[in-house]
Amino acid sequence: MAIIERPATDTPAVVAPTVPSAAYGALKRPVSTTSTWRSWLFTVDHKKLGLMYGAVALFFFIVGGLEAVLIRLQLAAPDGKVLNADLYNQMFTMHATTMVFLFVMPMASAFANYFLPLQIGARDVAFPRINAFGFWAFLFGGIFINMSWFLGGAADGGWFMYAPNSGPIFSPSNGIDFWVLGLQITGIASLTGAVNLIVTVLNMRAPGMSLMRMPIFTWMVTVVQFLLLFAMPVITVALFLLMFQRNFDATFFDVAAGADPLLWQHLFWIFGHPEVYILILPSFGIISEVLPVFSRKPLFGYPFVVFSGAAIGFVGWGVWAHHMFASGLGPVSVAVFSVATMAIAVPTGVKVVNWTMTMWGGKLQFTVAMKFAIGLVVLFTIGGLSGVTHSVAPSDTQQTDTYYIVAHFHYVLFGGAILGLFSGFYYWWPKMFGKMLSERIGNWNFWWMVVGMNMTFGPMHILGLQGQPRRMYVWTEARAGEGFFNLGFWNLIASIGSIILTIGVLFFLINIFVTARSKKQAPLDPWDARSLEWMTSNPPKEHNFDSLPTVGHLDEFFHRKYQEDENGQMQRVKSAEEVLKELEDNADAHIHMPSPSYWPIVLALGLPVIGFGIIYSIPLALLGGAIVLFGCYGWALEPSTATEDEIDPPSGGQSQEVVKVG
């Protein structure tokens, strides 16, 4: 090899080679390109994949939101005529399915994909092609589920799909089949993503980045991946059993044949409870980044936040039957799960204490990101408190299946998970897009969302205790109860709240649009942040870091900017630009980046074809299987062009193209 010269500082950005790599028979690799549609379709770059996850998740957020608004319009007044009973069932089923599986989970994936490698000082994930496959599988799975709207009606059994109600007798349309098969497809994405990110975190940290120096967002995402790894197979079993019943005449949930409906409930909730921690932990991670930055203080009790996150993940496996207190489990089971559920409040409480103590005594900056983060702490706590009341099995027996439960989970999911994601948007937008979202519009976004959210879900506590059951498609004046503040009143308030909430979300979309049109560039480190993802350009270069940083501290980036002086005060010694320049000046001469590939999207395409085949025609399923097989072989045989020994993982049989710096 030639002698490596240090690149001049005014050299252009890294350019990937434009020659297609060596072919194996007829299977050529795609060429690495810059900004054509092909570069998105065949990319394996974690940042591009993160952006695509985010864009698709945002689209589904709007879809799920419209589904919710239709529900609220139907319930705004007595004898609603907006939705009939059948459509109503489809609407609440798909609202929840969309929000849980097609918005919150993939949006967390978006952030995880984009920022986890950056936060640990890596250049990509361990298995970039599997990462790409995961995105396409999610996209095709999400589209597949929603095609049911146009093909005979969507799934209508509730997002928890209790059997035998979800069986072919009570739900004869293909809606649930699309649901079952679509979730299997997205489930594959989650499982492969979990393996990918865990290996990435274990194996691809920058030198000196011990596990206890990783940012909390990375920690929480890692716990989530373990939850996904172990929970997804359980719902896979449940979905297969339901599929065999619906499509192949099995009787797993047919009571007349001797089946026990509780089988479904257990399998679903053994998945379902870890699932709710999957939904909330990434947002906990996001605000654990945001709160310290805007309190100008390090996170209080870092080890406690780490271990309580792991504890939540672990104890979360032991509480699932609290969703089944009224199902006839028997007093022993109910008592055991009741106590376990109370226990899980403890590690969550630990986190709330740590977040509060982080802010205590800090120099608080109430940016929009910070507002959303504080909003999470407050609103999630409210949701958690109603959750504690559910853990007391006798009172849950009254609460279950009423709007009190709906209130609880919307406080923790909207007030918790979603506000956390919005905090992430405002915090990380400058790094991803080189522009800051408008704080002015952001404030409108925040306040309209928070007021709207509380106005929608606050009254639901009352509605629940007044006796309004869940999944009831209409209410009448006769059933509304006496007095002014009856079901009618609170339903109307909730529905008005949902409109205010919608406008709040609209402000966010306006903010995106206005920001995109603005010419104002963001600085490299607008928030004076603490972690490694900020030690990059805006947006980060394709290879993330010109040279991989050696990590000496928790909050490494912060410690490169600030040093303690004789009086123990933190003094700024370098700017973000100077810190970045240090990396650039020491740039690695040869950086190996994984190459784009056709196979992830090809393999992913086979999956919905199998799905259609199972619903409509078995030969079609075989065709889908053939596409999958073709994809597997193409992938496995994809030629390697670089030498085996790589400077940067990923290793293990992948093609790499050499990227020259300078």
Partner: protein, 197 residues
């Protein structure tokens, strides 16, 4: 300034191979999958409806031989990995092929067994015992079949020396998958076949 590190080195934070870590994680998750199927069977094994009971259809001697065959395939698999580590291409190919053949014998035995059960009145939808039995053993059988396909594909790829990445590691990874499938059968054979209802 060529990097002269060894071919077996992985520059990772743990020093462990990405693929190996990934495979063990996947196998950990498979425990939850098979656990769910086994538990469903355990719940429903006594619900035979009008159809035959387990003791009426199970042929323990036959299944014992099948189990033995699968167990021996684990031995041949580990011999294949050993050969691969010693860069013995012919030995590797030989033992991989024998493993695949033993696996195919096992699957053939399953097909024969299921056909016999069907002829004795145990169809897929006959009873809850039937459905959960076929789903559990069927999933296992599909896993074995996928394993056989991977083994034969690997033999084909090895013959053309076109393995991207480390050969011995690829053999080892498929070996891990194969042994896991064997280990699941160890559990199934004991819990489902040998413990009477």
């Amino acid at each position: 300034m060529a990097d002269t590190a060894l071919h077996t080195e992985h520059h990772t934070s743990t020093g462990l191979s990405n693929v190996k870590l990934g495979m063990w994680l996947f196998l950990g998750s498979e425990c939850l999958l098979f656990g769910g199927l086994i538990s469903t069977y355990m719940l429903y094994r006594g619900r035979v409806g009008e159809g035959p009971t387990p003791s009426q259809v199970f042929d323990i001697p036959f299944t014992s031989v099948s189990s033995f065959v699968l167990l021996m395939s684990s031995l041949t698999m580990v011999l294949a990995v050993s050969a691969a580590n010693q860069k013995d291409d012919r030995g590797t190919t030989l033992w991989l092929t024998i493993t695949a053949l033993l696996g195919a014998t096992f699957v053939g035995g399953q097909v024969y067994e299921f056909t016999a059960f069907y002829n004795e009145g145990l169809g897929f939808t006959t009873s809850l015992f039937a459905s959960s039995f076929y789903v559990l053993t069927g999933f296992h059988g599909v896993h074995v079949t996928v394993g056989i396909i991977m083994l034969m594909s690997l033999v084909g790829i090895l013959k053309r020396s076109k393995v991207p990445g480390s050969k011995s590691e690829t053999v080892e990874m498929i070996g891990l998958y194969w042994h896991f499938v064997d280990v699941v059968w160890i559990v199934i054979f004991t819990l489902i076949y040998l413990i009477p209802v």
